[in-house]
Symmetry: C2
Subunit: 314 residues, 2 copies
């Protein structure tokens, strides 16, 4: 395509997309046949001169979703558009909304849904509508009820999802990470705790997010880990955590001793789940999102456009 044709295709595109002329009219204006105009427009599209964006908080990027499914082996992917996004909070909100939409449309409806907790999960619970399902029971899959700065958030998340879904919530009454291995083992052998974990293992579907390995982590905020603990994990290769378990970029546990003191489903248990929905958004979580997807921690990913493109990069 030479310079002249390139310019002509731009002129044609202006008349076609901005002035809503027919290809025939454009042909008359530019002294071309309508077939030539059609071909110029096709080339303009094909060479990327035409960008079409859907500007809406609920807009998704289907081509990227398809690539995630095909190139990363996900059984499903939901990618929210970043077009016209105001800030990281809105990105997070859009992603949470998309996750809520996905859950609502999910078929078959899971009888029992295992959930983690955290900012993302809480936001999803807020976005779910009353009656999003009927009879969905919710069970927590990792510990962490009490130590939160805003106590009850973890519980409110699970209870909210359950209530709006017409079911019961089963909380895991345990800290996320215990200081001593013995305490952790003692807690896990408690009849109630063991029962909850058993129920969690039997869930039809899991819904969880991932945390970045930095000082903004919920574990730091909640007091389970200190900033220096996290620094140490990062030094060992940690990119973030899933259900409280810190993993490296290959999806392996970074600190087995710490992991042994962490209450809840293990990463391998999650990996075996037929339906594991990860919801991960934001620049800071790109590395951990990569680890989650590469190591097969989820079958379904809900994320934002930038994160998705990052995943497809490598």
């Amino acid at each position: 395509m030479d310079e002249t044709d390139e310019l002509l295709s731009i002129r044609a595109a202006e008349l076609y997309y901005e002035e809503n002329k027919t290809q025939d009219e454009i042909g008359q204006a530019l002294r071309l046949t309508r077939w030539k105009v059609g071909r110029l427009l096709a080339q303009a599209k094909q060479r990327g001169f035409i960008r079409i964006e859907i500007l809406h908080p609920r807009a998704r990027r289907l081509p990227i979703e398809r690539r995630l499914r095909e190139e990363r082996g996900l059984s499903d992917a939901i990618v929210v558009s970043s077009a016209g996004v105001a800030g990281p909070e809105e990105l997070q909100a859009r992603t949470a909304q998309a996750a809520a939409d996905y859950l609502t449309a999910l078929r078959p409806v899971p009888r029992t849904l295992g959930v983690s907790w955290g900012r993302t999960l809480y936001e999803i619970s807020q976005h779910l509508r009353n009656g999003w399902a009927t009879g969905v029971n919710v069970v927590q899959i990792n510990g962490g009820v009490s130590l939160n700065r805003r106590p009850g958030t973890a519980a409110a998340t699970a209870v909210g999802i359950a209530q709006k879904g017409g079911g019961q919530a089963t909380l895991l009454p345990s800290p996320a990470i215990l200081e001593r291995l013995e305490t952790k083992q003692a807690i896990e052998s408690d009849r109630v705790v063991a029962g909850v974990i058993e129920l969690a293992r039997s869930a039809d579907a899991y819904l969880f997010s991932a945390g970045a390995a930095d000082e903004s982590s919920v574990h730091v905020e909640s007091g389970y880990l200190s900033v220096s603990d996290v620094d140490l994990l990062v030094a060992k290769g940690a990119v973030g955590d899933v259900v409280g378990r810190y993993l490296d970029s290959d999806g392996n546990i970074v600190d087995p001793a710490l992991d042994a003191r962490t209450v809840g489903l293990t990463l391998d248990e999650l990996r075996q789940a037929p339906l594991a929905i990860a919801v991960i958004a934001g620049q800071a979580k790109h590395p951990v999102a990569d680890a989650v997807v590469r190591s097969g921690l989820c079958t379904v990913l809900v994320t934002d456009e930038a994160t998705a493109l990052h995943l497809l990069d490598g």
Copy 2:
């Protein structure tokens, strides 16, 4: 349109624009008739959910051009797209290119073209192609040959435009602004100078830019004015200059005494021209662009998208 329809129209738009499905196929996917799908898409467009951009340095914004013609009474307007622009320099380059394109396509071809000088005009001269016209003579319409930091730029501009257009350049051998009124009058009464100005008055068309009233002005750079002179002009309401003459937001001369010492066509002479092409781009020139258009200094405006939208705002 209720929430459900809004969401549906977004889903439809995704399938239509991103997945290239037909409206019929979308209808099947969303369990709608194809007519409903068509209506949803129409609404999505109409409500602004669909943004179509033409990403190309030569892309123009025809709807904005139309509004400038209709709402600001211009006989023609060229608005270059800001989509995907890298920085102010590229915006300037795109606008200069568009001005060169406009000149090249101009019919009837002017026999004599009056031009000002400055960064913008120089860039336009660079963008013009050899043989852009045949037999177009060029005449400078304001003084300023010698004092430039890069001497000869003003001359090179006029000569370049003329040579590439197969004609002669007539330079105005005079400073832009003189220190004493008597000197200015003496210069103007010089036979050569008077002849050039007479020729300038008789030009078929004028091509000029405008300068912002700040320390980056060419007059400061060239030493005709000091920074404090410009500050004083700003204090008196100056928004910028056209052919060396400083005007306020209503297009009136800010400092009549200074104006009397400025050599070249007057603003009122420009206003009476049947074809006066102003080329003005960049954030810094929004106020002066406004003054130029509002006070009828040009019949044709070549500008960038942001400046055009600023003009249409008020």
